[in-house]
């Protein structure tokens, strides 16, 4: 590696990150523990305990969506990683293309499909079947999460699986391992880092969403993101209470990620042995 003498070049960045990333997060903590006059209080934090069921519901729906994404994306990524180079390029372009379209518009499209007089129900009634209740259900929210975030699961899985050499799989089957044994003992351990980054990249946005639940979930599927939204910009405007709720969300996300990262380090140590 070359040696440069330009430490000063990082100073604008350091100042920027302190001012506009760390300081705002500290402000969240400050607001969470003070009242409207700036006096210290635990009321907001105590009050946010009331919202634990909402948080639990968000974690529950996001976890279901993450598992579905993993189950759907895993075989897809594996198939993709075994294609020829030009086909792989085309497939990754096809996976990314919908992501480039504004995600509000994509969610709106599902609204149009699932609505009471939307595409599916228009078709059902046209062939004489009764209309189904699709929109404003928790199923619709999970569908929205899976649809919007599945590329974030496919891409890291795919990029780690391209590194699994064909000869490793052949060796495994030559040594007598069947399909499932090869999967469990070769493919799965080698793709674990991809699983971990895919799971975090799907779970974090899913658990904190307010757009998907607002557009597809109706009033019955109120998630923690919706709550934060109305506390900061909506009709229950209260910056202090909202900060406490956000703090709670932040803690949950950090704990989840810490658990997952432990998985990763433990496993890589094992692999070294």
């Amino acid at each position: 590696m070359i040696k440069l003498n330009a430490k000063w070049a990082s100073y604008p960045y350091i100042i920027w990150m302190i001012l506009f990333t760390i300081l705002p997060l500290l402000l969240v903590v400050y607001f969470a523990f003070t009242d409207g006059n700036g006096a210290f209080t635990l009321d907001n934090v105590k009050q946010s305990a009331l919202y634990i069921p909402t948080l639990a519901n968000s974690v529950y729906l996001a976890a279901i969506a993450t598992v579905i994404c993993l189950v759907l994306a895993y075989p897809f990524a594996f198939i993709m990683s075994r294609l020829t180079f030009s086909k792989q390029k085309m497939m990754s372009m096809l996976v990314m293309l919908p992501m480039w379209m504004n995600f509000l518009l994509r969610t709106y499209a599902w609204q149009a499909i699932l609505e009471d007089n939307g595409v599916i129900n228009t078709m059902l009634t046209a062939i004489g079947l009764p209309a189904a209740k699709l929109i404003n259900t928790s199923g619709a929210v999970v569908l929205g999460m899976v649809y919007n975030y599945i590329p974030f699961m496919i891409l890291p899985l795919y990029s780690i699986m391209t590194k699994i050499d064909k000869s490793v799989l052949e060796a495994s089957s030559d040594l007598g391992a069947g399909f499932f044994a090869t999967f469990r003992r070769v493919v799965l351990p080698l793709s674990l880092p991809g699983i971990i980054s895919g799971v975090t990249m799907v779970f974090v946005p899913a658990v904190s969403t307010f757009v998907i639940s607002g557009m597809l979930g109706g009033s019955g599927n109120y998630l923690i993101g919706d709550l934060i939204e109305v506390q900061f910009l909506g009709n229950s405007y209260d910056l202090n209470a909202g900060s406490a709720t956000s703090l709670m969300l932040m803690v949950v996300v950090l704990i989840t990620m810490a658990i997952f990262n432990r998985f990763e380090t433990e496993d890589s140590e094992e692999a070294l042995v």
Partner: protein, 267 residues
């Protein structure tokens, strides 16, 4: 025999998942040409496209989005690329690690938390208008520029840089002639990522935009009213633009790859 069966099965699976990914987009495109508002086909019409282009609000939001994306990506690229060079020059492991961790923060935090934390800061500083929105966008764009430039610095050939110094370059000239061209691809990737993130952002903008209307914010207010076919027209136009951009860049990269292979063949 089983291999053939496997191939068919995996082909079907890929096709089904692709259908799932493209079905909503297809629905939007088809119904953007529908002559009535609902979701039963009543005939072909370009009505919604004409309405869209006389919609002052949408055109104005598009302008605001472009202004924010341009400023945010240029500043993010400058700050991020400089930061990569600076951190690369650092010897102190502790400082390097600390910066690495802070860089990961915006990438790992839920967007909504980034949004509300910025909102609190700007309320605290009593700022409103374009400046806080651009600051917020720079903040979530900078880390990706930083992370795309840093590996390029690590890859630079030590001998090249030393040769430049030995041949009489001062460190500034050596930087300009050796280092800069080597990190340029990373800088460009970072810039493109920044511009995409900025154009696409909704959550952070929603909390920090105040009264500035960006395209995402306008779309959100339209979407809340449910059926408004102008949005279908807008989505179709955006999809076609993205498709064209991706096709052109992909064809170029495939052509480059082919040219490379031809060269190799000649050698």
């Amino acid at each position: 025999m089983t291999q053939k069966k496997n191939k068919v099965l995996s082909g079907v699976y890929v096709a089904l998942l692709m259908l799932f990914l493209y079905l909503p987009i297809l629905v939007l495109i088809v119904f953007s040409f529908n002559s009535s508002k609902g979701y039963s086909w009543t005939g072909f019409s370009l009505k919604w496209y004409i309405d869209l282009f006389s919609n002052e609000l949408i055109l104005n939001s598009l302008k605001n989005t472009l202004i924010v994306a341009l400023f945010a990506s240029v500043f993010a690229t400058l700050i991020g690329a400089l930061a990569a060079i600076g951190v690369f020059s650092m010897q102190n492991k502790f400082a390097k690690n600390a910066i690495q961790n802070v860089t990961n923060l915006p990438l790992l935090m839920p967007e909504i938390v980034m949004g509300i934390s910025m909102m609190l800061l700007f309320a605290f500083l009593n700022m409103s208008g374009f400046v806080p929105l651009i600051i917020a966008h720079i903040s979530f764009c900078v880390p990706s520029v930083f992370l795309s430039v840093l590996p390029k610095l690590r890859q630079i050939n030590k001998n090249m840089y030393e040769a430049a110094l030995d041949l009489g370059c001062n460190p500034f000239q050596a930087f300009y002639k050796v280092v800069l061209p080597e990190i340029m691809p990373g800088v460009i990737t970072g810039f493109l990522m920044a511009i995409t993130y900025s154009l696409d952002d909704f959550v952070v903008s929603y909390f920090t935009a105040g009264n500035v209307q960006t395209l995402s914010i306008t779309i959100y207010s339209m979407v809340k009213k449910r059926v408004s076919p102008e949005i279908n027209a807008l989505s179709t136009i955006m999809f076609v633009i993205v498709l064209l951009v991706l096709l052109v860049t992909n064809i170029r990269s495939i052509q480059k790859e082919n040219a490379k292979q031809k060269k190799m063949m000649k050698l």
